[in-house]
């Protein structure tokens, strides 16, 4: 008899978990997805790669541990997303509309400053990243260049399609 409440709790937890899983794009911590690499992957025609040059030297993934390479790449991917989405304006608009439906639109408007990144972030990011990267590569950085390069994978090789300069310091 005493097991029933626990059973109900388990059922409720997993019921919510499955609902969140079905919702796909949204989670509510502690109900998160474990569905990585579950969508059908198509072969990419082109792949974007950050090419990072420190003091004129190109950083190679193989010269770093997995954790270090993640640290090098993580902020760049996040910053790229922040720029591409105009500071997550689509998400913010959705939230504003959602809150509007329950009469809380004003609250979101009043907190706009608190929920947005600095409009001058792109400039600040470059020098912040330079300091951050110096810790990872374990030596001072005099010059830093970051390019976005697009490659086409073909027969085990990568053909360069285009490049664009992103950060230069």
């Amino acid at each position: 008899m005493h097991k029933k409440p626990f059973l109900y709790f388990l059922i409720a937890f997993f019921f919510i978990q499955v609902l969140i899983d079905l919702a796909h794009s949204v989670t509510i911590f502690p109900f998160i997805h474990y569905g990585m690499y579950s969508e059908s992957f198509k072969r990419a025609d082109s792949l974007e790669i950050f090419e990072i040059r420190v003091n004129g030297q190109l950083l190679r993934a193989e010269d770093f541990s997995i954790a270090e390479w993640d640290r090098i790449h993580g902020p760049l991917s996040a910053m790229e997303k922040q720029e591409a989405t105009d500071d997550f304006s689509f998400d913010k608009e959705k939230i504003r509309r959602g809150l509007g439906k329950i009469g809380l639109e004003g609250w979101w408007g009043a907190t706009n400053f608190r929920v947005s990144n600095d409009p001058q972030l792109s400039f600040a990011f470059a020098s912040w990243y330079k300091h951050y990267l110096a810790v990872v590569v374990k030596h001072p950085i005099q010059t830093l260049e970051i390019e976005k390069a697009w490659y086409r994978p073909a027969n085990g090789k990568f053909d360069l399609l285009s490049k664009s300069r992103w950060i230069t310091l």
Binding site: L47, W69, M79, F158
Partner: protein
């Protein structure tokens, strides 16, 4: 094993994992005060949105000393919780609750600021709920629940790969590897790992078989929902899975093994039975 000993075992294993994980974060300069982030991201998690809505991330960026405070609390709260337990022989409700809530907040902040996803660390929060109450039943319930959750992580991963059709795509693993390792492959390949990625990408059938084997390994955790007989086998499957994940995918999921250690503990039911038997023997002795 009686309740006190069982609880002590869980407590020791949990905090060994916990402090080791915090230590790894520290040595990899991943703690908030070491990163000193200057921007935050939206990751489409409603709990994270709530944290962002309170203005806390913005406040922390304006006062970077708060990052250090958060890191200190990450260490001090569990130390106090442990000291209290050693001193009084029981948990403090207030310290237990503070630790659990703060850990949840820290995990949310970490994802908001550094995109450190919570998949490998969420189970620390769920397990920390075991240290709130001193009563036997809630403790065992949390432990049982976390064991189920650990099994669910694997099972749901397999389920979604089947339900969303990935497992029926013969080029799936080859395409995943190409996207996942593009930056490693494009900058010139000389290591054994890198050459392995290239080989697997060029041989989709082989890489698909590897993917399929991974899905089957994940799905095998369903057996744990019905019996504890194979818990030790499941533990070794989990170790094997994460080792391969690290090598083939360059994804480190090892902190999640704090949940795996629950598979090595004797079953809660057996523990309760032995505990009851021991108290009966003691009473008879009196």
């Amino acid at each position: 094993m009686n309740y006190t000993r069982y609880r002590m075992k869980v407590l020791s294993a949990f905090f060994a994992f916990y402090f080791y994980t915090v230590g790894v974060f520290f040595f990899n300069h991943l703690l908030l005060s070491q990163v000193r982030p200057i921007f935050f991201t939206y990751n489409r998690d409603l709990s994270e949105l709530l944290v962002i809505g309170t203005g806390l991330p913005k406040l922390m960026m304006a006062h970077p000393g708060m990052f250090l405070m958060a890191d200190l609390l990450l260490v001090i709260l569990p130390v106090f919780l442990l000291l209290f337990y050693i001193w009084k022989g029981k948990f403090s409700f207030l310290l237990g609750l503070s630790f659990a809530l703060f850990l949840a907040l820290y995990l949310l902040l970490l994802n908001i600021f550094t995109q450190a996803h919570q998949e490998p660390t969420l189970i620390y929060f769920l397990l920390s709920l075991a240290f709130i109450s001193n009563r036997e039943r809630p403790f065992y319930r949390v432990i049982n629940f976390c064991r189920f959750y650990f099994l669910y992580i694997f099972f749901s991963a397999a389920f979604w790969k089947i339900a969303r059709g990935a497992v029926f795509n013969p080029e799936e693993m080859s395409n995943i590897l190409l996207s996942q390792h593009a930056d490693v492959l494009a900058s010139g390949c000389s290591s054994f790992s890198c050459r392995t990625y290239l080989y697997l990408i060029a041989h989709p059938v082989l890489s698909y078989l590897l993917y399929l084997a991974g899905v089957l390994l994940e799905a095998s955790f369903a057996v744990g929902f019905f019996t504890r007989k194979f818990d030790k086998v499941l533990f070794f499957i989990a170790v094997l899975f994460f080792a391969l994940d690290l090598w083939v995918m360059r994804i480190s999921y090892w902190p999640i093994m704090v949940g795996g250690m629950l598979l090595l503990l004797p079953s809660v039911r057996k523990s309760k039975r032995r505990s009851r038997r021991a108290s009966t023997v003691k009473l008879n002795g009196i």
